[in-house]
């Protein structure tokens, strides 16, 4: 009887130890999962931070671009109306000269459209730093190294 009780006791103890080991393994696994989750969360946070910076930078770039557009349009208007200029009268008085200017302007404007559609810059366009070298129709687009004096 005592032997049987002893055996049952040992068996019970064995079961208990096994349960403890099993619990321990589960806890260890849980701990590992939590640590992994924290690492993953940190990664997500880092990625979000990077994304946020990228979005801000992109917005800034687009705003600069839109401001450049406004300025280009203002410059175009100025070329037609500077000092009460009347392009019609000028064309009557100096027909050949204005025809040359308009044709040159047309070529420049066409080049601006090509560049806007993704054409590569020529070395001359990239090198241009003087007003005489630039494409006045879209200097910011055509001549990235040209800095306009205010």
């Amino acid at each position: 009887m005592i032997v049987v009780l002893l055996m049952a006791g040992i068996g019970g103890a064995g079961i208990y130890v096994m349960k403890l080991r099993s619990d321990n393994a589960i806890l260890k696994a849980n701990q590992h999962k939590l640590e992994t989750a924290i690492t993953e969360q940190n990664k997500v946070l880092e990625q979000q931070k990077e994304d946020f910076t990228a979005i801000l930078e992109s917005n800034k770039k687009l705003n600069v671009l839109i401001n450049t557009f406004k300025k280009d349009l203002q410059d175009l208007d100025k070329r037609f109306t500077k000092k009460n200029r009347d392009i019609g009268k000028l064309a009557i008085d100096r027909t050949d000269a204005i025809e040359r200017i308009i044709n040159k302007g047309g070529v420049n404007a066409a080049r601006c459209i090509e560049l806007a559609s993704g054409a590569e810059h020529t070395p001359e366009e990239l090198k241009a730093t003087l007003k005489s070298e630039i494409n006045p129709e879209c200097p910011a687009l055509a001549n990235p190294n040209y800095v306009q004096y205010q």
């Binding site: 055996m7 049952a8 025809e99 806007a116």
Partner: protein, 120 residues
């Protein structure tokens, strides 16, 4: 004696079933995120525009211009714009160009954001 056997049998059953506790294999399910395939379209081909020639025609040079056209074998006809409309056309073209640039820029930014080049 009969009781002892019963207890002994019970103890053996407990011992044997005890070994099976915690012995079941747990099924592990892994979820691996498969990123979407990149669209990876090439950027649109750049335009190559043809050159055109503007002719200014006034009441004074009209005869001369038409004569030159005929000499060159070109039909003596011109499609005209007033000076004001020429300015409007120039402005419209500038706006089209800007819209093109803006759209291209947006496309590039989207591409950069959603399809970044792999870090080397």
């Amino acid at each position: 004696m009969y009781n002892i056997n019963k207890i002994f049998a019970l103890a053996i059953i407990i011992l044997l079933t005890g070994c099976s506790i915690g012995g079941e294999k747990k099924i592990k399910i892994f979820s691996v995120e498969e990123p979407r395939q990149k669209l990876d379209y090439p950027m649109p081909t750049a335009l190559q525009l043809e050159e055109l020639k503007w002719i200014i025609i006034t009441s004074e040079n009209a005869q001369e211009v038409f004569a030159k056209l005929e000499e060159a074998g070109i039909d003596p006809v011109l499609f005209g714009l007033t000076d004001k409309d020429y300015q409007v056309l120039a402005r419209n073209f500038a706006q089209i160009r800007q819209k093109l640039q803006e759209t291209n820029n947006l496309l590039e930014e989207y591409k950069k954001y959603y399809e970044p080049k792999e870090k080397e």
